[in-house]
Symmetry: C2
Subunit: 194 residues, 2 copies
Amino acid sequence: MGRWEPNARGRLEQAALELYVERGYDETTVAEIAKRAGLTERTFFRHYADKREVLFGGAGVLHDLFVDAVAAAPADAAPIDAIAAALDAAAGMFQDRREFARRRQGVITANPELQERELIKLASLSAAIAGALRLRGVAEPGASLAGEAGIAVFKVAFDRWINQPDQSDQAEQRDMAQFVRESLAELKVVTAGV
Amino acid sequence: MGRWEPNARGRLEQAALELYVERGYDETTVAEIAKRAGLTERTFFRHYADKREVLFGGAGVLHDLFVDAVAAAPADAAPIDAIAAALDAAAGMFQDRREFARRRQGVITANPELQERELIKLASLSAAIAGALRLRGVAEPGASLAGEAGIAVFKVAFDRWINQPDQSDQAEQRDMAQFVRESLAELKVVTAGV
DNA sequence: AGGGTGATGACAGGAACTGACATCGCTCCT
DNA sequence: AGGAGCGATGTCAGTTCCTGTCATCACCCT
């Protein structure tokens, strides 16, 4: 296994997740991740800016998914409906990845540094949604607030989807789209006032 | 200036902000901060967990302010109204600190690591609001969503208050409470749907 | 005066990250 | 075929963040 094995990034991401799960984020060294991936520490830092970033390689596709879905919504759709469409698309993307998402989220939840990184990724998503809404003619501060609201729903729905009790009957597992709809409805209730 | 000069934390916070403003966060070393405060690097880390935390010494009082205000709202007030009261209290706290807030926020905006830290502080505030709402009998996921919504309004209002154009006539400067009300109203509009 | 206590200093060291330069494998051009 | 070019990787040295450990100092209490 010399140089030039293909898919260095994929190997690094898998090695990192494995080690973070096995022994914890703090107790894992970048040199160890690189070694398990058959690379050196220096090469790790050529692929990822830091030790945290290796867990967030998929952030870009989620970003595009949100932006595209908001842009693709009917021109006369209200901001909240464009966001609802984007959230549905996001839920679909996670459809068959619950176990992976669970393992990964467990690592993140166990470490504040990783939570910080996740939060800035979500903030970036929020800003992207706001930008896409502005392109649809939504003015500030409405666009930013709608973006924040959308991410709030995403966070809550994702958390509930990940942490729902396991059902012995696989068919009874609720999928993320259900939690998204439930959370969005609840947000409307709670912001409406009396 | 031997040991035992009083208010070590205050000196560290002031020295850090000054240096972060003067030469940037990345270009400032913890040893330099400690030296300006008349202390050593090791002592810096006894007062603050890391180089970022020194900018967030005031987070605790904001936390208490939010929790207390939510708890103090009339028992029959809707969640969104309890949050509105908390936001008003927060706006009052910043009343005479706009210039300080501006300088500090400029440093944070210029650096992703600091933005991450700020985001996790705000997430902690959101969770605290949700907890206070649950004590008022608000069920999940409504409590969490209301907490997130409250922080979203706070973020947007704070940003607009900080970045509003300077008026030659001091009296024309809008205060944060106005931005809070405006943002909260806009959130209601944008989440209401058609 | 002397002991206790809490804050600080001094020192060593690990790990994260960066810059500079060498090396390797592939591709393209002639 | 052979070499030039190029991008990915390896090697090494160095800085900074952060931590553990132990000594030292100022104050307080008796």
